[in-house]
Assembly symmetry: C2
Homo-oligomer: 765 residues x 2
């Protein structure tokens, strides 16, 4: 049991280390040489350029102005200064709303902390249950609910506070949902014209023996949306081509590197090995090797042509654009044909948000894939210890000695031996945890989502489940998730909250330390950006030749919603679960949210470069997870109180989760549609405004190139796409190739598709 | 433990009683006097009229043709003769698809029974576990899984069969879903023009200070669906008026009755009492009393006018009609405004399917009401025994003696005493069970559904939950639902299937008897229609004067989906749960489904008169409940085998429910949209066809009277609704009363509403 002094010491150490990080950051960011690491966002926006070349060469790298060091914490108020509308303008709505998650944390927990410290701590403190009992206890326990005798009437204070906290949390959530909803709607209403406002992604286009996909799409929409259809773009399966392009770029990089090396030291021609990772294989002249490799890859050009010409490389998906936003909104929200697995329509993601690889997956596979991922996630969550334990068992002294006998002498040395024993088992787990977001992202990709934003949202959901089971549950009831599963299956359902409730009390000090190490120090480490800093300087030193190279060497990164949001959720869970039980934990949570808010606001303003804009589409899942945390905390309290012989409180507390679930359903019905659908009134308003402002807009030209696979977006391809004049479709019959086309194979007159024209592949029956 | 002989005896008794019912039916239906009881459907269709008046008077009432009695079971093949398309034509798709539920039962259970009897019964029979053990056992137990020794390898036969049965059930369900879906789509595609195809029900229209609801609706849809909006009808809150009309009709009925009585016996003027139910109060001349009462109620006319004139009686809901089915399909499937709780659009139910009372409930109340109903249903299911036990405790000898001491002498008599003791406690439960569907229907109405069909579907869901808990679970583990709840909460989750699995074996004979009594005899009783028979003859004797009265005295009834479907589901549950465990039960299930199919087919052809047509919208819930039964049966088998020391089978069996749930999700995605949405392609096809066939159709006139509250549909009201010519809306600005109307209060020029015009109620600001 940790005493208050222990906690104080730990806090001091962590505050100091966090402070050290912040100091290092304050120092490093002032050096001109690091400017591109700490302010990449401004470079990308074109506002900032490399430090001026005037002055002496030292000043180009090191900041010698001593006064600037005095104001080393200046970045904090500066980060808070930018008003929200400007922030949205600067970094996008996603980033601005992401920051509101931290703000919600503050809004929820500051009043709760004040109330809990003012009411619950005195109620807990003025008992002497622990003093008269024989258990070992610390001062923190005296502040917690464990200091209340069994069956005491004082528990009513806790029950009332549980109600107050629940209502306050729900109130904040409701208000926040309202604000985010109106921010999103306002953002969508005021944003300038974008291709995705007019475009719908159509998937699972059924094959047709008589017509190519492009013709089929055109005919289908001319018939079923005659007044609104404008044009469409078919999707090519360019995955192979994309791979080739990527490989060529890599080779080019290596070639550049060796040429640079050769230029610096012309006396020795660089060599490299042809085998795996350049570690073995025959040694060859590096420059010649890569030149020949690149030449080989020039079949890329052939592949590019092949993709364009081959009808088989057209996947059964298309981006269909409409004349009005109203038309697109209608098409996205309705079912097209009898068979709900064909002609699936959905809003097109932003062009840069499209995940091209998944566009071709048929419906049946999607459901099978989803089943597989659910099962895999279950095993990953509960059984991940098994492969790690296996690796750990291999990675011990005996295992290594067996595998590599020549190392025996080295290993037997005392220092190295203890290092391996102490370090290796941990590193297997650490590597797994670092890889985890990647694994989860892979699972989401396998599930078949078609936009990067939805991939990140789905990965975040999976990560939250993993963290809840393996960090929260397993820390409370010591043991692996697998053991928990076994225990829980064999326990009665009303025993589980009791088990958790009873152990949660004893883990308060552990979680306080966890918040300080993982939360405070982690956030302070985030602002330092040690990894991008090192990589940038390495690249800058070895590879950068031109200004453009330097641009590419910058790695601004992004928020990383898929891994960072579930971690915030963990703090919501801890805060809510301990609010009634051990209020002493709450100030630590508040400090975390406050620090994180400032740091991430700074990073979003100066560093991160968001790759896409989903207009805060993630908010419903954020809201849902906070609600989950709230319900878990209520169940835990219920279990805890029933172990405290306060059984008469059970029905009173049971009402809380029911009310909370009902509140969630209300919010879901009331607000979620705004994040999924696009109301017709809004669409009509925007259409009308635009028609009045720009009556002669050539929308077809505007949309013609919007949705092309990025590999086709080279320089020379632009000419291939003819920008046809808008044609008049009204009152015309739609020509079809079916039925009577044997004698008169008239090509489609209204080929609205702006994709490169394809050869006629219809088979004569 | 019942032996085979016991079962045989019970079966013989039940078969005989069922046979007696059928004989009585065969006899009664041939009497001309009962013709309207057993063939009302044909009368309502106008195909059949009262028996010919030729011949002597006896023949009018009694069938003297002895040959017809010889063919007394003839109705059975006749009921099967009508082909399905004709049946759909005759009785509607709902009825035809309802019959398919019984067919599915046959399709699922006949192959399962054959397989189980051929494979599992020999496997079970050729053991001697029971013979060597000391437990009392019957022959039926020798045929069941209880005859297999613990840990035997023979259990693999049962596991394999569980897989086979699951796959077969899923296959049948899949095929059936496919058939029903295409039947529904075909039905919708080929049915003639109906108002609901063009109409959308709009609810939660926000209040507007400047415009009346009617004007607001018109402007909103002219702006947001400019090319498609045609007309609309506002909804009046005519609930009070409807009550008055109903009361007046009742009074009229009594007046008729007394006048008839007076005519038959002119010597004595009939009298009646004015108090409650005519049991007490002052005695008055009946005819005069009712004449004056009816006069009083003529304020009805005033109320009718008041409703029409008073803008406050317009509820914030409207039926909006469109020019095309395409326009209506679009409006019904999309969100209209930012706020998803306003301007809620949904398919309009058929005019006769509308439940008018619920149209005015605001969105927030809907969610609160739903919460209340969920909680109420929980208490109803688990705690319904408490009030009944209370009533029962009152309804004993002592309670009655206390309440009514003057009855003491009578009660003390032996016969009456034993009658009260044996009968009264049971009757409280019986009354509750008879009232249950009404209670559940009331709960569904309270929840706020707006069509009769959805009310019936929702009540059916609630009834199924009640039956599952109180019939299935409580019969298996003897005790009330309340005791079960207590037991289950205190048991571990993997203990529950074990408890059920262990007891299910011993309850096989009970359920066999249950199937015979409740199933066989119940179905045979259904065909006899004893209650409508008696009521019809009473009415016929006392009230009927004209042919129209006789028409009204017929009570054809309807399928009663809300109470009959959950009862069928109980047999699916029993069949699936016992298929692997005690295959001997299966033949009884098959006989039930076969008999029920014939009987209900006969009733649907000759008796029932369906009030509305929902085009088989109930199928997804039927499918879902069979899947639920399948999953429950798998869990029970899992629990049973784990008590049989066949623990190694657990993972194999655990895969079954997961696969079944996945199958359900697949079906839900694949087929359910066809029951909820209306694909645009279908709508467009029907529109195009209609335009080609009837280019000059006056759709507005066709729709003008479609959605009026039934009380307004009297004779004289028809003239009030002017059938306006279709106006041209294209390219016109929509006049609004807002902003500048202070000076120029121009009335809306395009008042497309065909409701009676309302006075201008806009308040000057």
């Amino acid at each position: 049991m940790a005493t208050l002094a222990d906690i104080g010491l730990a806090a001091a150490i962590n505050i100091l280390s966090a402070f050290a990080f912040l100091l290092a950051f304050a120092f490093l960011r002032l050096q001109p040489i690091n400017d591109r690491v700490y302010f990449p966002k401004w470079y990308l926006k074109g506002v900032r350029s490399s430090p001026s070349r005037s002055g002496n060469i030292v000043q180009k790298f090191v900041n010698l102005d001593w006064r600037s060091y005095l104001r080393f914490l200046n970045w904090m108020p500066e980060a808070l200064k930018m008003p929200e509308p400007e922030l949205i303008e600067h970094a996008g709505l996603d980033s601005a709303v992401y920051l509101r998650i931290y703000l919600i944390g503050l809004k929820i927990f500051i009043p709760i902390t004040v109330l809990a410290l003012a009411i619950l701590v005195p109620v807990n403190w003025t008992n002497d249950t622990l003093a008269t009992s024989k258990v070992v206890y610390s001062d923190i326990d005296k502040l917690s609910i464990s200091n209340i005798p069994k069956g005491s009437n004082r528990f009513w204070a806790h029950i009332v506070m549980a109600y107050v906290f629940t209502f306050w949390t729900c109130y904040v959530l409701l208000k926040e949902y309202e604000i985010v909803e109106s921010m999103r709607l306002h953002f969508i209403a005021t944003e300038r014209r974008r291709p995705d406002q007019f475009t719908v992604l159509v998937r699972n286009i059924p094959p047709d023996p008589d017509e190519s996909t492009s013709e089929l799409v055109e005919h289908f929409f001319l018939v079923n949306h005659p007044d609104h259809y404008l044009t469409h773009q078919v999707v090519y399966n360019a995955n192979n081509l994309a791979k080739l392009v990527k490989k060529k770029k890599q080779m080019q990089n290596w070639l550049d590197y060796y040429q640079l090396k050769y230029n610096r030291n012309p006396s020795k021609r660089p060599t490299c090995k042809t085998g795996f990772l350049g570690l073995w294989g025959s040694t060859v002249d590096a420059i010649e090797f890569y030149i020949s490799e690149i030449e080989k890859l020039s079949k890329e050009e052939i592949e590019r042509e092949k993709v364009r010409k081959d009808p088989k490389s057209v996947v059964p998906a298309a981006f269909v654009s409409f004349r009005t936003r109203w038309g697109a909104a209608v098409c996205a929200q309705t079912q097209q044909t009898r068979n709900p697995t064909q002609w699936l329509t959905d809003w097109a993601p932003e062009p840069r948000d499209v995940y091209w690889q998944n566009l071709a997956i048929p419906f049946v596979y999607l459901t099978i894939r989803r089943l597989i991922v659910i099962v895999a996630l279950f095993f990953l969550t509960f059984f991940y210890v098994i492969p790690i334990a296996f690796v750990q068992s291999l990675a011990n002294i005996e295992g290594i000695e067996k595998a590599a006998p020549f190392l025996k002498k080295l290993i037997e040395k005392h220092v190295i031996k203890s290092f391996i024993q102490g370090f290796l088992p941990g590193i297997a787990l650490k590597i797994f945890l670092i890889l985890l977001p990647t694994i989860l992202m892979f699972m989401s990709k396998f599930e078949g989502y078609t936009s990067l934003s939805s991939l990140e949202r789905k990965s975040a959901g999976k990560y939250y489940i993993f963290l809840f089971v393996n960090v929260f549950l397993c820390s409370i009831i010591t043991g692996t998730a697998l053991q928990q599963l076994d225990v829980f299956i064999h326990q009665s359902p009303n025993q589980i909250p009791k088990t958790i409730g009873a152990s949660i009390l004893m883990k308060a000090t552990f979680f306080i330390t966890f918040i300080m190490v993982d939360g405070w120090a982690g956030i302070a480490g985030e602002v330092l950006r040690l990894k991008p800093l090192i990589i940038f300087h390495l690249k800058n030193f070895f590879l950068v030749k031109t200004e453009k190279d330097r641009e590419e060497a910058m790695d601004p990164g992004s928020i990383g919603f898929d891994s960072s949001e579930p971690q915030i959720q963990l703090y919501f869970l801890l805060g809510l679960a301990y609010a009634v039980v051990t209020p002493f934990l709450l100030p630590f949570i508040i400090i975390f949210f406050g620090l994180a808010y400032v740091v991430f606001r700074h990073q979003i303003i100066n560093v991160y470069n968001q790759e896409y804009e989903s207009a805060a589409a993630f908010w419903p899942s954020v809201h849902g997870r906070i609600i989950t945390a709230l319900i878990i905390s209520q169940l835990v309290l219920l279990g805890l109180l029933s172990t405290k012989n306060a059984a008469q409180s059970t029905p009173v507390l049971l009402a809380l989760p029911i009310l909370t679930i009902w509140f969630h359903l209300y919010c879901k019905n009331r607000y979620e549609p705004a994040f999924v659908k696009y109301p017709l009134q809004e669409a009509m308003m925007k259409d009308t405004l635009e028609r009045a402002r720009e009556p002669n807009l050539d929308l077809k030209a505007y949309l013609s190139n919007a949705y092309i696979h990025p590999v086709f977006k080279g320089g020379e391809e632009d000419d291939d796409f003819s920008i046809a004049d808008e044609q008049e479709y009204e009152q015309v019959l739609v020509p079809t190739k079916r039925q009577s086309r044997k004698n008169t194979p008239v090509p489609s007159k209204y080929n609205g598709s702006s994709s490169p024209s394809l050869p006629d592949v219809a088979q004569e029956p």
